[in-house]
Symmetry: C2
Subunit: 423 residues, 2 copies
């Protein structure tokens, strides 16, 4: 029987119980944090040997160059070839950078804003308006970049197999629509992976703006929770075949594979896009940290080495995700006051509560010492029109803390629901 089917007596009784549970929760004086998609210490330990790599005496890359010295904007061949094999792409179209692919995304947008990109008729700053497609729920840091440059963000819903392509095809008829964010594998926060059909449609669709770009943030390309790796679609190749060679700026990184703040980022795109990027990157600096790139090449050994590390992460993360889902099923399932994703990869569980109550759930949790990501944070301008979505990040806390926190969250979801029902 769902909460909505309760008669008023039963609802009152239930409400009293939930309120008592919540008081008990507050009395525990918890201090727990489910906000951050950070790897745990256990996961970081998988990469511990990197702290002593590449090791003394090991400083020459596959091209015979000294990685300790200046130069090589593209990054060293050792890591580019290894990562190209992971992605199944041409290493000539793949750059290796410093630790953060988000840095590269910001720069691509920033430089297009200041000067236009290689297909622009004018700098984006000189456009009357720039519109940007944001599948929702999505990654808050993407939206913050669009917001920073004053772009108008237009949302499209995420469906089972990726964003709503029909809606996107309509939007890109507008020449002011210059780009789109995408997290194609185990998306943040939905866990959804784009189907090959969606990938191909995004690659082949016509756009009014010649300088339209899809920022293809494949942050979780190999971040399985099951040990099964999804296919990685080479959208740059799809787009080239379709006559849209410069459509994708494709990103990935080792941030949640090796060390979260000290990995290697990668940028895969057409030659024309990379040449444009490198020209400005060459004004901005001399080259990325190649010592860290060599350390990573040594650490992984080869593409299979990457997958071996990811199986270890799955072994650490999967039980946490499973416990979150179990607790929600146990505590919330029968009342039908929430829906949640059961992702097969990535870093997040997306929790939808009764419309209008997400911010109240977050507030109640905060009062009980459980930090949740702010309601609405998976939407542009942090505005969830239904006030429904909460992003849960189960990776960082140990299982025991996670269990306590999720049990508390469940109590908050129920309390917000009975409040909403006026009980």
């Amino acid at each position: 029987m769902t909460l909505l089917d309760f008669d008023s007596d039963r609802l009152a009784q239930f409400s009293a119980q939930v309120r008592a549970d919540y008081e008990e929760l507050k009395a525990k004086n918890l201090k727990l944090d489910l906000t951050r998609g950070k790897p745990s210490s256990e996961q970081l330990d998988f990469g511990e040997s990197l702290l002593a790599l590449p090791g003394e005496g090991d400083h020459i890359d596959a091209d015979g160059q000294d990685v300790r010295n200046y130069g090589n904007l593209k990054g060293i061949r050792d890591i580019r070839e290894l990562w190209a094999e992971v992605l199944g792409v041409n290493p000539e179209n793949l750059l290796a950078g410093d630790a953060s692919s988000l840095n590269i995304m910001f720069d691509l947008v920033s430089w297009s804003y200041a000067s236009g990109n290689n297909d622009s008729e004018r700098a984006w700053k000189d456009e009357e308006k720039v519109r940007w497609i944001c599948p929702v729920p999505g990654y808050d840091r993407h939206f913050t970049i669009s917001e920073h440059f004053g772009f108008e963000m237009v949302t499209v819903p995420m469906l089972e197999d990726g964003p709503d392509v029909a809606a996107i095809k309509e939007l890109v008829k507008d020449p002011q629509v210059k780009g789109m964010w995408a997290v194609p594998t185990f998306g943040n926060p939905t866990g959804i992976t784009f189907s090959e059909e969606v990938c191909r449609e995004l690659a082949t669709m016509e756009t009014a703006a010649p300088d339209f770009r899809i920022v293809w943030d494949n942050a979780y390309a190999v971040h399985t929770l099951t040990g099964e790796f999804p296919p990685i679609h080479d959208v740059v190749a799809f787009a080239e075949e379709a006559g849209n060679p410069n459509r994708f700026w494709a990103m990935s990184s080792t941030s949640k594979i090796t060390l979260a703040g000290a990995g290697v980022s990668f940028f895969h795109s057409s030659k024309a896009n990379l040449d444009w990027y490198l020209k400005i990157a060459g004004v901005r600096g001399i080259g990325p940290n190649k010592v860290n790139q060599l350390a990573h090449a040594r650490y992984f050994g080869n593409a299979e080495g990457v997958r071996a590390v990811m199986r270890k992460h799955a072994g650490s993360l999967a039980p946490k995700f499973a416990r979150v889902v179990e607790i929600m099923e146990d505590r919330l399932g029968e009342y039908e006051v929430a829906r949640w994703t059961e992702p097969e990869g990535g870093y997040f569980i997306s929790l939808d509560v009764i419309d209008g109550t997400a911010s109240r759930v977050v507030e109640l949790a905060k009062e009980a010492g459980i930090a949740l990501t702010g309601a609405g944070s998976s939407f542009p301008l942090k505005d969830d029109p239904n006030n429904r979505n909460i992003r849960l990040a189960p990776s960082l806390p140990p299982v025991e803390e996670l269990e306590v926190a999720m049990d508390g969250v469940a109590t908050c979801v129920l309390l917000a629901a009975v409040e909403k029902l006026g009980a």
Copy 2:
């Protein structure tokens, strides 16, 4: 007797000799490179232990935080405090970044262009014109950044104790003058170190633009060739005392101290400037590579550790600089066809040849297999109005190669001179 005093017979005889020397030089089929201000392998070996640092098990910083994980835009306290001691500044006003301070300089200019800085009335892109003061000769990569954003570069001459402050004070009466480049210690390529008086005048002078900034690139702050370290003037403090707290964006890095492409960069400025920077840096990314910062803190140990490394560099570099000067004195001294600097620090020797012949010298050297930095490269738009200046970079080649190359360069200087005299 100088070349200009030669009578025509003696000049003809001399010319024949120089031409014969040049043919002999070409016959050697050299392949030598004096273009790059790169450390040599010997110097990079001083930092070799960094390739195994911080080492397994060492990943907690002075604040108890795990450097392997995300976060901490300011950089870790361990390296900020150490470097603040080197510079003699307040560590709270010092950020530690990734490897490249040039990256930070570009971003500061880029973000001011897109949005204005914390003192701007409008974004620099919306100014009718932005003018930028460029002391010459100066660092080519600085000028390339100003050029990239379309700024009009206005040159001022370098004097013995820094740039011509009287000229600068006139220029900054123009509100469109928004900034200035400076390499205050062992400058590139002149080797000149700004006097305290010049530092204070730049800090205290009135400027029409409230958002005027001096990019204070103290790249060679501790790069002595003599073992003597020049005083490091805290211009941020000078400016604050003078009521111009936000005047300086001050940069330094370990690039030519530890590993050229894999060091740590530093940004020292007022709190308001840093807050503005961090706000946008926090949109661009999550934080710098803190593992590398911890590795550097462990490598140096303390500020004296930095100076100890710099004495080793001096031991490697000083003999090279000395040989270059000796060869020029031997081969060119008596003819008075050139002047050169004898720097006490930094990476360059600045060679002035007879007006109008610098590009010819570079061309002749190239034909003889000796790569020199392009004539004019130390000037905005690579335009040396006197076609006089050549930047010599003695650091990279071993001494034996350097001697051969410099002997060849001397021959080219003489040949260009006799050609100029019509002999």
